[in-house]
């Protein structure tokens, strides 16, 4: 904890904490996407998977115990990630004294320029997503415990599908720059592997995008119902 605090004191340290928490979130995203693909193998399989998450380790661990530990770790990662991002954003804003009259864009990519606002959009999406498919607060026909039903009903609406697709595109951009950036931030730079960093980031980011959208698209087109 003391080392975390020490890292947090320096600007580069904050970035390192952002990179580590970003990696935790990325790990979650991968698991979540793979879990969602289980929709394709039918209601029993998908609901059993949801059940498994809630009862992992039961009776050794109380009902939903594991899930809550998991949620707390994720929440902690999101807070650390966002708090560092906002603080660094603040100092960087005040470091620039006025804008240039003429500018040429010299940055590496569109994704690199949209990390901050893109991140804010992702955070808003996460809130909506939890209210939608976890608590059901904003769901049209939520049945507690029937995760498959909730999923399929949701994506029968093209508006919801479109909304999720936009959010996934934002995630794809954030991860494209993030996964490249993480190698810089953690100092994993090596002349031999550096040329691989961009392609790997593209493949992973696109993989996440496609993986998340296959099941909803199949629901919307009626292949899965």
């Amino acid at each position: 904890m003391r080392r975390v605090a020490k890292l947090y004191q320096s600007s580069v340290g904050k970035k390192i904490l952002m990179a580590l928490s970003g990696l935790i979130l990325f790990g979650f995203i991968v698991g979540h996407m793979v879990g969602n693909l289980k929709v394709l193998s039918g209601p029993e399989s998908f609901n059993a998977y949801a059940e498994f998450l809630r009862d992992f380790g039961y009776p050794l661990i109380p009902h939903e115990g594991f899930l809550w530990v998991f949620r707390i770790v994720l929440l902690g990662a999101v807070l650390l990630h966002a708090a560092s991002a906002f603080q660094l954003w603040g100092t960087s804003r005040s470091a620039r004294s006025g804008m240039y009259r003429k500018t040429v864009d010299l940055s590496f990519s569109y994704a690199s320029r949209t990390m901050r606002w893109g991140g804010v959009i992702l955070a808003l999406f996460v809130v909506y997503h939890i209210l939608h498919l976890t608590t059901g607060t904003v769901h049209v026909d939520f049945v507690a415990g029937d995760v498959y039903h909730n999923y399929v009903v949701a994506f029968q609406s093209p508006i919801i599908l479109g909304f999720y697709a936009v959010a996934q595109a934002a995630l794809c951009f954030h991860l494209y720059h993030g996964l490249w950036s993480v190698t810089q931030t953690l100092g994993a730079s090596h002349p031999k592997y550096n040329p691989l960093r961009r392609p790997v980031a593209v493949v992973l980011a696109l993989g996440i995008f496609v993986g998340f959208l296959i099941p909803p698209v199949l629901v919307a087109t009626g292949v899965v119902s």
Binding site: S10, S11, L88, K102, D105, G187, P191
Partner: protein, 254 residues
């Protein structure tokens, strides 16, 4: 050729500046950009006006003194070229050119295109040196250094401290400069004893001077007249991470 220049004029640090439009009618394609400004200044002086202040020294791309935003490009449109090495053949008759000073809180404008870059000096003072007794020059090869390491140290040492990286960075971060200086010494045996204290102290000074935080945009690398690579920033990050985790007692008080 004839050019229309829009040059940032500001008489003193705390005075509001603005663009002045000046016609440059006698420009030869063989002039360097700074020679073109010299000719403009002679014209201004002849008219009894204040010449445009700009920084320059070697005019051969090695000292890092010159530097200005030329149409939104630090040092102008040529890749790997400082403003003094830019030639007017990069432009065409009738072009409009916007010339602005570096804009960063850590680089306050002193006059017109001249900014105060002493923040870089203070980053160097924080650790960009080795405190060894130098004595007389050692024999060549007395201290063996691998070819790759020597090459990397040499490439990092190419940084001339011009500040284009800060000027180009949307965060006004000086990470490319700081990383070049950190890596140059981290790659050499002489730099090892102070390696980790150096990175902590240089990054601390970088922050307290009011530079922003790197988001791995890469604008610095594209703007740098010396081709300094963002790979050095990864090296700096790694050294800082290690330095913090090593948790040596002498920095516990920091």
């Amino acid at each position: 050729m004839k050019l229309k220049l829009h040059i940032w004029r500001q008489s003193a640090p705390d005075v509001r500046g603005g663009f002045e439009t000046i016609a440059a009618d006698n420009v030869s394609a063989h002039m360097s950009f700074l020679e073109m400004l010299d000719v403009v200044n002679e014209g201004l002086i002849a008219e009894g006006k204040e010449p445009v202040a700009f920084d320059h020294d070697c005019r051969e791309g090695i000292c890092g003194t010159c530097g200005m935003m030329i149409n939104g490009n630090p040092h102008g449109p040529w890749e790997g070229t400082s403003a003094c090495q830019l030639h007017m053949r990069a432009f065409q008759d009738g072009d409009e050119i916007w010339i602005e000073p570096w804009r960063a809180r850590a680089f306050p404008v002193l006059k017109d295109l001249v900014v105060d870059r002493s923040a870089f000096d203070r980053i160097i003072q924080a650790g960009g040196y080795v405190s060894i007794r130098t004595g007389s020059a050692p024999d060549a090869n007395a201290v063996p250094i691998g070819k790759e390491w020597a090459d990397e140290a040499f490439d990092a040492a190419a940084c001339i401290g011009c500040g284009a990286c800060v000027a180009a960075c949307p965060n006004a971060s000086a990470m490319l400069f700081t990383a070049a200086k950190v890596t140059q010494l981290a790659r050499l045996p002489q730099g090892q004893p102070e390696r980790y204290e150096r990175v902590l102290s240089m990054v601390d000074t970088h922050d307290s001077e009011g530079f922003g935080n790197c988001t791995n945009h890469g604008a610095c690398q594209n703007a740098c007249p010396k081709g300094i690579s963002v790979d050095y920033i990864a090296q700096l990050n790694r050294d800082l991470f290690k330095a913090t985790l090593m948790d040596r007692p002498d920095e516990a008080a920091v």
